[in-house]
Structures are given as structure tokens and as C-alpha cells.
Symmetry: D2
Subunit: 146 residues, 4 copies
């Protein structure tokens, strides 16, 4: 199995909607946070990358399928792995399971493109730098079929 | 063309991330808000529906493709229409264009399922009530192919 | 009466907590947005100010008193004025009333300090530039007692 | 010293504004979350309290003073204690320090009133139930001067 990173999180009152279940855009916030933590676990600090090397990973597409609602103070695990890695594109997969019983609550993805941020008003796609690909490979985080 | 509803919105400082572009989960917040306003424009108040009739439209799947970043104090239009209508399912389409020049910035969808909320701890799928389908049809909001 | 600027807003489903009333940090988001729109109404674009002149208005203190809860799809008015203006400090007042009957729902403030952002890692307080004070005065937005 | 509860949190990309520092309404979200966790640490589950006994702790007033900005992936501690306890009112204090060096970054409060939620459309103030006061006292969470 490919390398994955897991984040534990507790559902807060402010995450809930009027039905007492998590308001779905929150899941995307957590996907984004988990993406950053996934890269950090590979020794890639996305903030440094942007500030110092003017390289970022912008969103091309995101999506999520919801199986079960999550509720107040439940503890979830967000497990992130790389689904696909190409020249300019990396697709992350995020699975959210309930810590108490491991049931899969929802599953989503982020398709991110490597961006040259040297001119912030004209962001353009660029190749993922070789040293980053190397760090990803070294950890075994590239899907098996590649 | 099928019936659609458009919401105008101005991008606020708090919607931006550290790159000065909209943090993407915000778009899903606005999709959700626009879904509620779309139904309201069809004389369907989703909150009343939940409180009084214990009927809701929960998320099965959502997704979004991002074409261009949106920035500080830009004005966007969120245009919502029904992409698909089935027994228990309604799929909404949301397109976000820049008010100034009409350029398409991103496009997303919400696939929602009609839920029986009479037992909030055991939410289950149910048929969309006939009077709601009637309101949707009356406004011409059903896709042409149906 | 001193100059004031009013923003109209509709409460969305995603603004509500599990009790069906607005989750209070949202009000601070709207105070922040209304502060930006207040300055814009005085021909001061806070984003340009930061990007081009490296001047910002950071938060020193905020606060809010809550009188009545606001609910689904209610329309509110957020009215902003300057409560106090000093060398480096501007204090904004925000009042939220219900559009339907004018009832005061809550009232808050933001005390902001003028910041020199030329070194983002060492932000420091600075005097409010004279041309900004002039724009504020010209609109009659300085409290009477000054 | 009175009883206190501490929550550890890591700053996420989505918590930042365009200057790369935490957008201030986020702090209030965390104050709210920490309030719930504080009560949970006293064996008081606020969600159960609302659902089963129709008792809640609504906001009367909140406030915050900001000393230093918090940045990407910094780890903070949010320490919560009771500042004041009266018949119907409990005031919580929240201090946020940087985990790495213990520096105080900001400090805020929430003044909450005990609410009878049996009629959600006519929420009214009520006395804090005796068994809850007892749980608070038992843990030594009442300020010394009381």
C-alpha cells in the first residue's frame, strides 16, 4: 500500500449545521489542511515553498462523496494519500473514518496543479520540481502503478 | 433554457487565503447558500420544510472545477439550475462568473437526496414530495430532456 | 450624526449553529467585511493600501454584545461608523439591526491600529497617513467630539 | 489557581488571511470550541444538555485583545478557565499561548448566560441548574474570590 498520513480531529459545535451534523464545506477545509500536513510529513513545507521558491499547488478540481453524517464531538481520522502523480499534477485522496469504529463516513479528492507564483497576478502551471518528486518517491508515496 | 437563479456576491477579505485568492471551501459555502436561494425562488423554503415537514435535501456528492482565481472585492454571480431530477435525487449546477466581464471562474455541482428527518438519528432517503416536484416543474426548472 | 455606511446581508443556512441561530464568530467575519466596505466608501481600498503602500489596519481589540439571536434567511443591516480616531488608532463601531423592523440585534467594535507592513515578519505600529485622515475628515466620518 | 483546561491546536493554511496571519474570527471559533471542551472536562456535555434537558449557555458578550499575530503551522495552546460564576451567568477566560515558547499571543472572554430552550422561538434566561454548579465546584473551577 502506498504511503499515507492520518490526522485526528474532533468535531466542534461550530462545525455543525442546524440539523446537528457537520456542514459539508468544513470537510473541504479539513481536506486542505490534511493536504498541507501530508506534504509536511514528506518534509515539504508548502508555505515555505510559496514564500521562498514561489511554487504552490493550486486546485484544479475537488470532489467528495458523503456516506454518513458526522456529529458533535465525534472523533474522525482523515487519511490522505497520493492517487495520481504526473508532470504538473498531483491528485490527493482523503478518506474520513470514525475513530471509534473505523466506518468510512466520506471520501474526497483534490486535484492540484503545480503553479509558478513568481508573478501573483499571472499564475501559470509549471512542472513539479524534481527535488519534490524525489521526496515523494523516497517515502513510497507514489501510487504503485506508476 | 431551463430556469435558473442568480445571486450576486462581493468577495470579502476574510474569504481570501494567504495568496490573496479565495480559499476554495468558501465556494462550497456559497454553493450551499445558492441552493437554498434557488429553492426559495421556487417558493420552497428549505428551513420550513425541515422544521415543519421533517423533509430535507442532504448531500450525496459535490464537486467543483476551478478555472481562474477570484480576488479581493471582485463581484461574482453564482448561477444555479437543476441538472437532473429523479425520484429521490436532485442535482444542482452552480456556475460562478465575474460580474465585470462574464468570464467563467469555476463550476460545481451538488447532488442532493431527499431525506426523511422524522428520526434525526436515523436519517433515510425518501421520494421528493409531489407538491415540491410540481413547484419545480411549474417554473420550468426541470431539465429539457426530462 | 457622524458618517456611517450600511451593508445589507441575508443569513444563510451555513451561518447557523445547531440551535438554528447564527454561530457568533460569523458576526466578527461580517464586522471585518463591513470595516473594509466602510473604508472603501471613503475611497480607501485597504487591499491596495497593503499591497502598494505596505500599510494595514490590524486588530488590537474586538468585542460584541448580543441582544437577540438572528435566524435563517433573515435580512440584517450592518451599520459601521468611526467611534474614535487617534494618531495610530481607529475604533469602528458596528450595529446589526433586523431589516424588517429595525430592532437592534447586536453591537460590536473593532479597535484597529495602523501598521507598517514593509517587513511582514516584524509588523510595527505607525501613524495613520495624513491623506487617509483627510479622506476620513472630508466625509465627516470623524466623531463630533474630536 | 482555579481549574483550567488546555487545548492544543495547529494553525492551518485556511486559518490565514492574505497577510499570512490568522484571520481573527477564527480565534472566536476556537474560543467556542474550547468552551465546549472545558465543560466536557467537567463532565458536562453541552450538546446533551441542549438536546435532553433543553438547557444551553448562550452568548451575552465576547471580547478579545490581540498581542501578536499567529502564523502557518504554529502550534498554540488555548487555556480556558472560569473568570466569574453567578446565578445565571458564567464568564470564561481564554488565553492563547505559543506552544514553542509560552508567549501570550491573545486573550479573550465569553460571557454566557444559562438559557431555557424548551421553546426555541422564545429563548429566556434561567438559573444554572444546581447539579451543574456542583460539578463545576467539585473540580475547583470556581474562582477563588467566590
Amino acid at each position: 500500500m502506498a504511503y499515507q498520513n492520518t490526522v485526528e480531529q474532533k468535531i466542534m459545535w461550530g462545525d455543525l449545521d442546524s440539523l446537528g451534523i457537520v456542514f459539508y464545506p468544513r470537510y473541504y477545509e479539513w481536506f486542505d489542511g490534511s493536504a498541507h500536513l501530508f506534504f509536511e510529513s514528506l518534509d515539504i513545507n508548502l508555505n515555505d515553498l510559496m514564500e521562498k521558491r514561489k511554487i504552490g499547488f493550486g486546485l484544479v478540481e475537488t470532489g467528495c462523496r458523503y456516506f454518513k453524517p458526522v456529529r458533535y464531538h465525534e472523533i474522525i481520522w482523515i487519511t490522505t494519500c497520493i492517487e495520481d502523480l504526473a508532470d504538473k499534477i498531483v491528485q490527493l485522496n482523503h478518506r474520513i473514518t470514525l475513530a471509534s469504529d473505523g466506518i468510512l463516513m466520506l471520501e474526497g479528492f483534490e486535484k492540484r496543479i503545480c503553479m509558478d507564483l513568481s508573478d501573483i497576478d499571472h499564475i501559470r502551471a509549471t512542472q513539479i520540481p524534481k527535488d519534490l518528486v524525489e521526496k515523494i518517491r523516497k517515502q513510497g508515496a507514489v501510487p504503485n502503478t506508476k
